[in-house]
Amino acid sequence: MKKFRFAWLTKTLAISLALVFSTVFLSSCGKKEEKKAAKAVAPPIKIGVAGAHSGDLASYGIPTVKATELVVKKKNAAGGINGRQIEVLVQDDACKPEFATNAATKLIDDGANVVIGHICSGATKAALSIYKDGKIVTMSPSATNPPLTQSGDYPNFFRTIASDDAQARMEVDFALNTLKLKKIAIIHDKGDYGKGLAEFAREFLGQEKGAEVVLFEGVTPGGLDYSAIVKKIQENGADGVIFGGYHPEASKIVTAMKKKDINIPFISDDGVKDETFIKVAGEYAEGVYATGPKDTSKNPLTIQAIEEHKKAYNEDPGAFFLNAYSAALALVNAIEKSGSTDYDKIVAALRTEPVDTPLGSIKFDAKGDAIGVGFSVYQVQNGAYVEVQ
């Protein structure tokens, strides 16, 4: 009995302490922002940053805050946007849709002119209608769910990351236009990622003329031997394979194909664009195509952004840092070029004014996807991936 009460006591104590510290933390944050606001002379332009800043997905959201702050600090030091300083408003949604709507309401109340966020696709979707009603331009560095832009429901939404189906689009275009394939077998690993990509590829191939899908099948991941499916690919007369999945299955299928003298192109995704694939499949990996994010590491702006981050935080940047950095640059540029914080003018500027970012020179299409951001096709040549398109 005594023991039980003791445990109860410590638990309560722990929870209350946690609450105490969190309030202290929150209030200190608030103070910082107030100080910043006091510094500004002209009414500042407010950029909201919303995303997962706590919880298990915090590592996806915090780099975006850092990226925005770096861009803003630099811009403010250079005199701000048309003489107006920029202020950053941060809201946490913990990647949860119900918190995301709260965060959105709070940002609108605080007078945010534009918003960078949210991070997760689900939370972004929940918050978007609130921003839409409030006429706030929203730009996500990381929400990849295709309908967010493609449904046309959210004209205020933009993103600096390619949507999930862009890879499938890339694979299909490459297969049809570059390799001139006519009969394509689509294989996937029955997982969310692999099957999702495979289904997009099938859909896109269905829309195109002149090519048909001769086989659409899933294999059991971790299987011992894929020779039966490889024989089926041959039996159906496929002249190319599109595979959605990860490298362990891909290397087994590729090996089985080469061993059976089936020398047709094998095109896969960034689950396969991995050094392990080349290491495991060895000589059989030669000639395999895989799509992967465009290599931007040699872009001077990328090098500069990473340098800045290292200087400010003493560590390498985290997930989606470059996408967020580019989003901040794009928004700042759009406000500057349009000369106002008016919704319609910012949207028009985003679509027409190209801006140099770590992801290359980008502007946005009518649906809100960044033109020029996306994937490249790589091919294994002499034991390494080489960009071919």
Partner: protein, 330 residues
């Protein structure tokens, strides 16, 4: 009149001939595909069989489903990989490496099997049957994580140690020498085990232990030694399987034993657990079912067909295809 008659007949004959040719080609074409699927299925089946043999043997002697058997197979593959890498640096030939790596794998796997029995199963020999089963699952998890920590979580390439015979080159699209090698080894191991159990003194002691442990002890059978020996032999077959399968597939990681173990266990149950030829028959049927399901239906449903077959067979023959339905000892 006559000429036209002949012409007609010729056309008719020609038609008949061309139709026969087309039919023949169609049959050839279908048979080729069928044959390839069948051989693929047999190879897959014999891969399962190499692991299933150990399962069924241990079950036959002490009625324990040794869930860690798949991990012994995985450890055998890892030992062979390490040995092959070292031997390769010494510049030895392919066959020498294969034989030396296999021997090392057998020694290591046997040691693991022997120790595992002493640590995890022997203290539980008089407990209810559920306890050693749970202990086996624990050993399986332990070995996986042990290899994960001691080696790596990544997939590692495994060199193809099996030789390619020149005379088979023209038929390589149908069957390749590694496949023949695996099929052949499975049959040899099965025959050797059957001979061992049926016709040797050790085998007789094993059968006695299986029938009645206490009585076997009374007539002078060293039961502990026999059980240890069963584990050593079971682990050796797993090690041979590890070397052959890994060099056939070309990649290994710490998790391969679990997946292969589940399939091999299914095969052993299908064929009648406890029966040596049953394990091989069950494995071959399972492999062919999967191969044909992929080839003629849809590979998405490969496992549905495999396990559907298992359910059907267990409904009509609860002891498995070659299993003996013996009444429980009371």
């Amino acid at each position: 009149m006559t000429s036209s008659f002949f012409a007609e007949k010729e056309i008719y004959n020609g038609l008949l001939l061309s139709r026969t040719i087309i039919l023949q080609e169609l049959i050839n074409f279908l048979m080729d595909y069928f044959l390839e699927l069948l051989l693929g299925g047999l190879t897959k089946g014999s891969i399962y069989a190499l692991i299933a043999l150990g399962y069924t043997m241990v079950y036959g002697i002490i009625e324990l489903i040794n869930f860690a058997h798949g991990e012994i197979y995985m450890i055998g593959a890892f030992t062979a990989l390490i040995a092959a890498s070292i031997l390769n640096m010494l510049g030895l030939g392919q066959i020498t490496i294969l034989i030396l790596a296999s021997i090392l794998a057998i020694i290591y796997s046997s040691a693991y099997g022997f120790t595992m029995e002493k640590i995890a199963y022997k203290p539980l020999r008089h407990s209810p049957r559920l306890s050693p089963l749970i202990s086996a699952i624990g050993m399986s998890i332990f070995f996986q994580n042990y290899v994960l920590l001691a080696q790596t979580s990544d997939f590692l390439p495994f060199p193809s140690l099996l030789p390619e015979f020149e005379f088979l080159q023209p038929y390589r699209h149908i069957i390749r020498s590694p496949e023949i090698f695996i099929l052949f080894t499975t049959v040899v191991v099965m025959v050797l085990l059957t001979v061992l159990i049926k016709f040797t003194k050790v085998g007789k002691a094993m059968r006695a232990t299986a029938q009645d442990r206490k009585m076997a002890m009374l007539v002078g059978v060293d039961v502990n030694k026999i059980i240890s020996m069963t584990f050593v032999i079971g682990s050796s077959t797993a090690a041979i399987g590890g070397v052959l399968i890994a060099s056939f597939i070309g990649q290994i990681n710490f998790y391969i034993g679990f997946i292969a173990g589940i399939k091999a266990f299914t095969a052993a149950v299908l064929g009648g657990i406890g029966s040596i030829p049953g394990a091989v028959v069950g494995s071959l049927i399972l492999g062919c079912t999967e191969s044909f399901a992929t080839g003629y239906v849809l590979s998405d449903y490969e496992d549905v067909f495999a396990f559907g077959l298992l359910v059907l067979i267990l409904i009509f023959r609860p002891a498995g295809i070659l299993g003996k339905s013996s009444s429980e000892k009371v």
